[in-house]
Symmetry: C2
Subunit: 538 residues, 2 copies
């Protein structure tokens, strides 16, 4: 192999990040997403994979065609973090209620949960294929045993090892039937962390026998059923390796995953730009150490050229044997071949089938939780529809016509949306008994809607907000007319206990408009006015 | 002509509304935008035009292909309200600073303004064509002689008749060179209204000689240079017709526009769903009256089938002569033929050329106004970046990485965004001297950014906000560190006088991210930190 050939071969192992939008100016995260000039250069030089984020499903289709046209071989791995259906990331495709929905359903009705999980995988795989993706970075195999987990939470398929194993295996069957590659993540298990690996390196202090009983169970199951890829976690697990995070650890990736668990597919790192890794070492060294430890594919290196240079140099120096390169290339070729089953008709206009829509509605329906016998009455004076969104606006689930806004406005409520960059509803002087500044909300009954997920990247940016105390304050003031919680089941379980029976309260794990509509229909009675939204252009 | 043939012929004269998105669930205004099933049915039954709104430029390209495939003849008029470049409505294309920019520049440098106006038309036309549109609903020919105009304002090319005439003629030359149809609107002139015709019928009480001296000047110019279409205004002008709004008036459309001004092109109504019309009569009667008055094309009828039925019945009854139908069909066919010049390479990947980007930057640069000698210093304690957006979030110009947010955050400011659905910054008890509740903002210097345009649909929804008094309050409290106004020049002219010389203040007619960046670079000095935005996924 000449140097040029080796460079080209190594480049195949990279998975670089691109926006799903066509134009550079549309990138939402320009510091992470390559511009088109760089993308074309890297793909022409042999880079073999792209992870996409942002844009609509229509844009994604076009984008995948463009990226393939820039790759001389056309043999690209095109993937996305679409754990909750393609619509989670790409508007216009189907957005499914999060996996935890089925973990909760599984307690009551395991057979129905397994059936829905398989359809979940099939819908995700079919739509991925129609959009041009051949690799879905799911299912999450982490057992969410820690309710304070800031990065996994509702992304997990449950909090019990067997439940998660059964559900992810069903999901993978659906995905595989669609002819799309899956990815079991985050090895060896990210469910029991209370730190965010996007920001720092979490520590898992369990011993090997606990890992066997909990964390490894779903991974073993998917390896046995032939999952195409496994993604590594940025975690320090002293029971396995006292020094290196799993992503960079030969003990974890080679000794445990390859040898002991006998995994023959692709090992892909989690994004190397994450601070758990990038704080420890430069972009070149991170890629080299991950590859040396046993990873086949390098996801989102902070510097793609440096990653290629570094791995080439390590091969030339003999620090990594040439055989490792050949093995990884062979595994990649095998995966690509496997993904070429079930070709789709690219001209087919339909992205979301009726079956896809039925699934998304059934997931929402099966997951709603309602309590209270009363119903939010039509307020005689104008009430307040107080909404707290995760993070900042704009957010995908709260457009101007979303049910969380329009349904309440039809019933005479005016909307106040709180977000990280808005004026807070809290009293300036902290008061545990009366945290809300009721003067800021104005008069009338308050219907409270909380969109809360354990979202990453938020550690230290947000102080915890006293919603439990706020709810008690509103109840004492006889001003709470209803509560809707969308997202985190643990927060719901805490808050629901505060609500007396005559006030309607409900929960949906999904935050999407369909979930808002179904939940609010159950919580709110009264005459339905026509939608008064008048602005047809601006 | 059989009844079936006549129905099909009449259908050609309709221009119905569609979302630019592919899927029904993505429609932002589902009560105005036909679902795909109806769109396909109407196009197959002969409907000849579609007005598009929403989605990105990539989605628009795909959407235009789909719509043409649903039309048996493929001969569709595909248009959009893209007065400020395709990017005003379709993300990814070029969004240009509003026309008023050039009206103001024209006072200082008429030749440069005319040159830019022609490039404005060319860029808009070229991008329209690349997206699949053949008809641009611009230029606005209204002379904005009334600063309180709630619907025109910065959409106008100036407030003097000759300036507007010169600039729109230059714009039309550019559009025509691209082979795209233009539309002079809103005939006979919407510049001197202080009511919003989306909500009610405004009255123009000028006599005929004033109309000749002001309102009609730009229209006469564009008719002389061969503009393809003219859009009617929903205005009552007793000097021309004491009973009927212009859109429904034979005196305005036939006697004045066709006969006296000798216009031979297409007359298109403004949207018939607007309340100025829809409050007066049913959807069928509105379409019949507009057609009888002299309109060729019926834009956004409230009920497309009823509009076709009504016009067919009026023709059958002899209320409208068959010759009118034939004339309108001929004009439509002529316009379509004219738009088929300069075919584009649909496979060309580039939507926004370097020339387009240069134009957009030059328009921003040429339009900034700066006063004050000081610069917003790097605050020692955290300051407040207080932003008021027009209307509600999300808005196209204020994404999470927009300069209005990121530039100030790099300088230590925290962002507070006020919008129509957020908690207000105002004191509960009105106090002219101290309208702002400073406690809600928190401590530190305040950098104020106001995004204010005379947007439609807002009459009565918003009470006027006392920003002038708020600025004086902040100055007295020695807390104002800067002011940026984006949009309405009249508001800027009022507010700028309040700012002392040691506080930087600036104005941009454009609200887009490039305008924010250029304006803030001039207003803010101090060390530039790297962009700290860390979240590369969620």
């Amino acid at each position: 192999m000449t140097d040029a050939e080796r460079r080209r071969a190594v480049a195949q192992l990279l998975v670089i990040r691109a926006s799903g939008h066509a134009e550079d100016g549309q990138r939402r995260y320009p510091q992470w997403e390559h511009c088109n000039r760089d993308l074309e250069r890297l793909l022409r030089s042999g880079v073999g994979g792209v992870i996409l984020l942002g844009g609509s499903a229509t844009e994604l289709q076009q984008r995948c065609r463009t990226l393939r046209s820039w790759s001389d071989s056309g043999d690209l791995l095109l993937c996305a973090d679409v754990e909750e259906g393609i619509g989670q990331r790409f508007e216009g495709a189907t957005w499914l209620a999060p996996p935890m929905t089925l973990g909760r359903l599984h307690r009551r009705n395991p057979q129905r949960a397994l059936n829905l999980a398989e359809r979940y995988g099939r819908t995700t795989g079919d739509q991925a294929k129609r959009c041009g993706l051949n690799w879905v970075l799911a299912p999450v195999c982490d057992v969410n045993s820690n309710p304070d987990n800031p990065v996994i939470n509702v992304r997990a398929w449950g909090d019990r090892p067997q439940t998660v194993a059964d559900l992810v295996a069903a999901f993978e069957r659906g995905l595989n039937a669609a002819g799309v590659l899956g990815c079991a993540k985050h090895f060896p298990g990210h469910g029991d962390t209370d730190r965010d690996s996007h920001l720092e390196l979490p520590l898992i202090s369990h011993d090997r026998s606990r890992l066997e009983q909990v964390e490894l169970v779903p991974f073993r199951r998917l390896i046995a059923s032939g999952i195409a890829s496994v993604m590594t976690a940025h975690l320090l697990i002293p029971a396995l390796d006292e020094d290196q995070p799993a992503t960079l650890s030969k003990a974890v990736l080679t000794d445990l995953l390859r040898t002991e668990l006998d995994f023959a597919g692709l090992v892909v790192t989690d994004a190397l730009v994450m601070e758990a890794i990038s704080r420890r070492m430069g972009p070149q060294e991170a890629a080299v150490q991950a590859f040396a430890a046993g990873a086949d594919l390098i996801l989102m290196p902070a510097d793609a050229d440096a990653a290629i240079d570094g791995i080439c140099a390590a091969l030339a120096e003999g620090r990594i044997p040439e055989s490792r390169l050949n093995e990884s290339l062979r595994r990649r070729a095998d995966a690509l071949q496997r993904s070429e089953r079930n070709p789709v008709d690219e001209a087919a206009p339909i992205l979301e089938t009726e079956g896809d829509r039925d699934l998304s509605m059934e997931l929402v329906e099966s997951s709603l939780e309602i309590q209270g016998t009363g119903a939010a009455s039509h307020p005689e004076r104008k009430g307040v529809n107080l909404i707290r969104v995760d993070g900042v606006l704009p957010c995908a689930f709260l457009r101007s016509g979303a049910a969380a806004i329009s349904t309440l406005e039809r019933h005479g409520y005016r909307t106040l949306i709180c977000h990280d960059r808005g004026i807070e509803p809290w009293n300036a002087n902290p008061d545990r008994a009366a945290p809300l500044d009721l003067g800021r909300l104005g008069p009338g009954p308050v219907f409270l809607q909380l969109f809360l997920r354990g979202n990453p990247f938020r550690a230290g940016q947000q102080r915890p907000e006293p919603w439990a105390e706020a709810i008690q304050q509103l109840i004492r003031a006889q001003r709470l007319s209803g509560l809707a919680v969308y997202g985190c089941p643990y927060r719901w379980d805490t808050l629901r206990r505060l609500i007396p029976d005559n006030i309607p309260a409900g929960y949906s794990p999904g935050q999407m408009p369909e979930a808002q509509q179904q939940l609010l229909e159950k919580l709110i009675s009264g005459p339905r006015a026509a939608n008064q939204q008048r602005d047809f252009t601006d």
